[in-house]
């Protein structure tokens, strides 16, 4: 299925270069300030179409995760989770490992160039 091939891959439009390297490109509403990822064409809060590129925080905490054992990917098992970024956005992402995971642990977003876009996941930094 297509989704299995795109998991962990970011199109170039979802990435922005910030002060300290590559960041997820969110959208900040110029009218009400709401922050969203991926960057929307219209603010769901105030309907403004004036949305500025916003580099999202490079780290946050792991809200919840699951290790997946099924599907068509060749690299089973793998782990996915929700990361609560420091700027208030929650991002669904793959995790770099399947062991030693715990909700509320600190994680760092990792983005690296790959063919036609970027590789994207979150790496545990330390348990809290």
């Amino acid at each position: 299925m297509a989704m299995d091939q795109r998991a962990g891959h970011l199109e170039p439009g979802h990435v922005i270069a910030g002060d300290a390297g590559l960041h997820l490109k969110g959208g900040a509403c110029a009218s009400c300030g709401a922050l969203a990822f991926p960057k929307p064409a219209i603010c769901s809060g105030c309907l403004s179409e004036d949305i500025a590129d916003a580099p999202l925080a490079g780290g946050g905490v792991l809200y919840a995760y699951s290790v997946i054992h099924v599907g068509r990917r060749p690299d089973l098992p793998y782990a996915v989770g929700y990361v609560d970024l420091a700027d208030g956005v929650r991002v669904f992402t793959e995790l770099t490992r399947t062991d030693g995971l715990c909700p509320d642990m600190k994680v760092a977003i990792e983005i690296s160039p790959e063919a036609e876009g970027y590789r994207f996941n979150a790496a545990p930094v330390e348990a809290v």
Partner: protein, 379 residues
């Protein structure tokens, strides 16, 4: 708006029917519901069909087989809430006075996909990143276990209870009890879920005939009253969300209780959306059957088993009866109707007077769920 009653229900046993078209699954359930109601084809003023994977015009393709054409037929897709949403629409059509009698049915054939997780819409960013329904529920379980101390073994007990109930339901996909060890030792799917924490994929159909309350007695001596018919959508959030409190169901429950004029203490039997084990526990709390963190006590004390004070999913629920997504909502309403009539045999909840059916689902980024439909019924 005027009172509306259920006068007939029907369903086919859930399972796998590889040789049948989706429409061929649906017509026997409709015929059964029509016979149960004592309605002729000409009595039906409008028909609604809920289905996710039945394809374009599944309602029309089904009803042509029964010669029921010419009148309005409306197809409703709302993920796992498709036929409960269709039921909500049918209820509005009759309650408004526009029609006296409506047919509503749900059907899906998941065996067409050959097993595995159900296909989702890749345009959703999270789904494009590999979100699967088991992963979504597994993360809810992960967080709930982290916050409350619930163990994997305790969670597995939900499946054991569901299969024990389904063992007495001739319409259930699984009619055999299972042990805690079997649940724990089944192959892993999405931690903490093994295969037996997940509802099966399968095929099925269910149907109901509803009627204006003041003419229901023409067809049925003991119509079942629809006290509440609620449908709501999840609230969209771009930021943090508490996955251990299903806001869409909490809100829907509150609306449904208010519409019905009853509270959680009045519910004698409930069919709730246990697509995965954790869901059953989250929904005990969402419906106010217990307080936060107390759901496992209800399960382990037998409160939600047959013979307990608050039996939940006597049909076996999605975990045992099966979950052909578009058929689920009406199948739940069929079970509650039969429970209130006292016709459920070994799985009968004695003296049940008021019951609740709850179908919610649809993975959509930024929402707890895409849709949730709750019905409260009374004899």
């Amino acid at each position: 708006m005027r009172p509306v009653s259920i006068i007939g229900v029907g369903m086919i046993p859930f399972g796998k029917y590889p040789g049948k078209d989706t429409a061929d699954l649906a017509w026997p359930a409709i015929k059964q519901a029509m016979e149960d109601a004592g309605t002729d084809r000409d009595d039906i003023g409008i028909a609604y069909c809920g289905s996710v994977y039945g394809g374009m015009m599944i309602g029309q393709r089904t009803l042509t087989r029964l010669g029921m054409t010419g009148k309005p037929i409306i197809n409703v897709e709302n993920a796992c809430s498709s036929s409960s949403s269709a039921f909500h629409q049918a209820h509005m059509a009759v309650a408004s006075g526009a029609y006296d009698v409506a047919l509503v049915f749900g059907v899906d054939k998941l065996s067409q996909f050959g097993g595995g997780t159900i296909p989702l819409v890749d345009e959703d960013w999270e789904i494009s990143q590999g979100m699967l329904m088991p992963a979504l529920y597994a993360m809810r379980a992960c967080r709930y276990m982290h916050e409350t101390g619930l163990t994997t073994e305790q969670l597995a007990g939900v499946s054991v209870k569901a299969r024990a109930m389904g063992a007495h339901n001739p319409d259930a996909q699984f009619q055999k009890e299972i042990s805690l060890e079997e649940v724990m030792n089944a192959r892993p799917i999405a931690d903490p879920f093994t295969l037996l924490h997940c509802c099966p994929t399968g095929d099925g159909a269910a149907a109901a005939v509803i009627c204006a309350g003041d003419v229901a007695h023409k067809f049925e001596a003991a119509p079942i009253k629809i006290l509440a018919s609620d449908l709501c959508t999840g609230t969209y959030l771009t930021g943090y969300r508490d996955m251990t409190v299903p806001e869409i169901t909490v809100r829907g429950a509150s609306e449904a209780y208010e519409e019905a004029g009853v509270g959680p203490e009045d519910i004698d039997v409930a069919e709730i959306h246990d697509a995965f084990t954790i869901a059953e526990l989250l929904y005990y709390e969402a419906f106010g059957f217990c307080g936060r963190g107390e759901a496992i006590r209800l399960l382990e004390d037998g409160v939600t088993s047959i013979g307990g004070a608050k039996p939940v999913n006597p049909s076996g629920g999605l975990l045992s009866k099966g979950h052909p997504v578009g058929a689920t909502g009406i199948a739940q309403i069929t079970e509650i109707t039969r429970q209130l009539r006292g016709s459920c045999g070994a799985r009968q909840v004695e003296g049940a007077r008021t019951g609740l059916a709850h179908a919610t689902g649809g993975g959509a980024m930024g929402m707890d769920h895409g849709a949730c439909s709750i019905h409260i019924l009374q004899r």
